[in-house]
Symmetry: C2
Subunit: 95 residues, 2 copies
């Protein structure tokens, strides 16, 4: 922490997470679907390797933009709209 608040760090994580075309596509995809999907299915749709997928899902999760839960071998992902709402939709209130 150099001089930023906790709030800014979470905020930066959200913006970094959204500042990538693959991750923005994932968010788009989850938004239009509106039900849970596995990492593998998303990876196929995005045409990315499973390693790369794993990396991007981690970033999205650490930003709080998705939530996940494991069912047997598979990891299911869903959009957490409240984070988008907090940092984007209510950006001015947050500043």
């Amino acid at each position: 922490m150099t001089q930023q608040t906790q709030t800014t760090e979470a905020e930066i994580k959200v913006f970094k997470a959204l500042a990538d075309p693959i991750r923005l596509e994932i968010i788009r995809y989850l938004n239009q679907l509106d039900h849970e999907v596995s990492c593998g299915e998303i990876g196929q749709v995005m045409h990315i390797s499973k390693t790369s997928g794993s990396y991007h899902f981690k970033i999205l999760q650490e930003a709080g933009l998705i939530t996940t839960h494991k069912v047997a071998r598979e990891k299911y992902v869903s959009l957490d709209r409240s984070t988008v709402d907090q940092y984007l939709t209510h950006f001015w209130q947050n500043l």
Copy 2:
């Protein structure tokens, strides 16, 4: 253009621009001030070199988050709230 739309490219520029603590501070600063300020003044407040300032202002401008105009030697900067509104406040409509 690999598979993204023009809209996505502009959107990515906005998120990249906001995904940096210095630039987010600049936006914050401009927002609370609500009048034009010179690059130099902002640079002093942020404790950054003029070269670094020049770099960050370029990124913010290319994202459409600030507008600038030169008066003699000085470059004045002001916040373009409509870009924030388009990409953040109305994020869901934009997707």
